[in-house]
Subunit: 145 residues, 4 copies
């Protein structure tokens, strides 16, 4: 799902990943929301739409490898200078992730305005929140069945 | 009552108390809205939800002791990196305080953007506003009976 | 009319007058929207509500004298640390001014965020906008009769 | 079409053009949204409304000449200290451009808050987005017929 929601798009335009500054972010995303690399002139003048898809895949894969982990269901990516793309195992889930992405972007924006030196949530707290809601050891939140 | 309302959550994520910058704040809260300490690794990996409750209680008690006063009905707390929790003598009252907390957070955010050096309301003015609405000498506002 | 509208209240909390940065402001207000002086301890502990009214009147009068002009129908004032008060020849007009005051405050806030060095509109342009809508030489806007 | 939409008006009040920071902007406008020059005292005291129209035309023409290109259907201009004006081949189109202008202004505002050093989109990417939607080689977007 691709949107031009204003806060997530602003991070994409600012070419800054969305840092994980709070538990709302950790509930939905396994790490910071990354920004793709910029397309080259050749990629832009060539098959632009396909090449945009390729840098998204490249970014998601690189990010998983780096973190030695699966991105989980809340995966989202910011395309450099463009806007947010989100994924899911169904269209409904991808839309939910797009909404979470915008909410998380808005609160990161406000948090950095209050405290430009705000740092990422400690890893142990991030993992606690993410894994209590997602994956085999999940125990928190509404029962989806 | 626990919400993820965006401005109050942003202060919690920025790990900054909400200073009392105006009479709207003083009408609802007896002092600045405090931030709890961060949970330790042990507390996060242990009984996380119970330990979150414990640091909230610890924060409210420490805050009352420091101010040598009862927090009054408008009590609210920001959990470090997480978001706002508010209290009341009934669920309805706690919801009202959650709404006041978000409004106060939003105006503190904007006030600090206009004037980063804005200082807290003088104590005498804060007390005047708080006590004309709450406690035994209250005389202002809608009659609730 | 007294409101706690968020942008005007934020200027009051920041204890900063709202500068006239554009023609929207000049359409409604004859000059910057002033901030009252702070009340003294004695005034707060005494007849607080009456004394608040007195500093508002003091501020409006001082402002008119300084500008050697009538404030016109769009008069509004920010009470130090508190919020906006607006006036009119009828309650409806005062409400309209409260709405204009909030809109003007919001755009001043955003303008200063884009350009912290933004300066006031030149006097000749301010007067042109104000006087084409208000007073004996008005010729612009909806006919109210 | 002339509006006082808050973000576009704030750029006009800040007397700053809206830089093209992302593809949303490039989809609608062929370049940055320019600001007119300020009117002179003589122009303000003379036939003000007509002279405002003249500086708009002057700005659009100068901008086209500089860019050696037609401004395309998404043309918009900020009048110095005043607000946005947008154009189109029909009233409906001009309204659409006014909406796009406000959206683009809002995201530029947020982008610059996140990263004050954010730079304009590379020209090749800007042109790709603009020309895939507008002009003889357009191939993207909803079919309007």
């Amino acid at each position: 799902v691709h949107t031009h929601s204003t806060y997530a798009t602003s991070f994409a335009q600012a070419r800054r990943p969305i840092p994980c500054l709070g538990t709302t972010h950790a509930d939905a995303f396994a790490g910071p929301v990354p920004v793709t690399r910029a397309l080259t002139r050749r990629e832009i003048e060539g098959d632009y739409e396909v090449n945009t898809g390729k840098v998204i895949v490249e970014c998601v894969r690189g990010n998983r490898r780096e973190r030695q982990a699966d991105h989980g269901p809340g995966a989202g990516v910011l395309v450099w200078g463009h806007g947010p793309f989100s994924f899911g195992t169904s269209v409904e889930e991808a839309v939910e992730h797009a909404i979470a992405l915008e909410q998380v972007a808005r609160m990161a924006y406000q948090t950095l305005a209050i405290n430009p030196l705000a740092t990422a949530l400690p890893r142990v707290l991030h993992d606690k929140h993410f894994h209590r809601k997602h994956g085999p050891k999940a125990y928190y939140g509404q029962n989806k069945s």
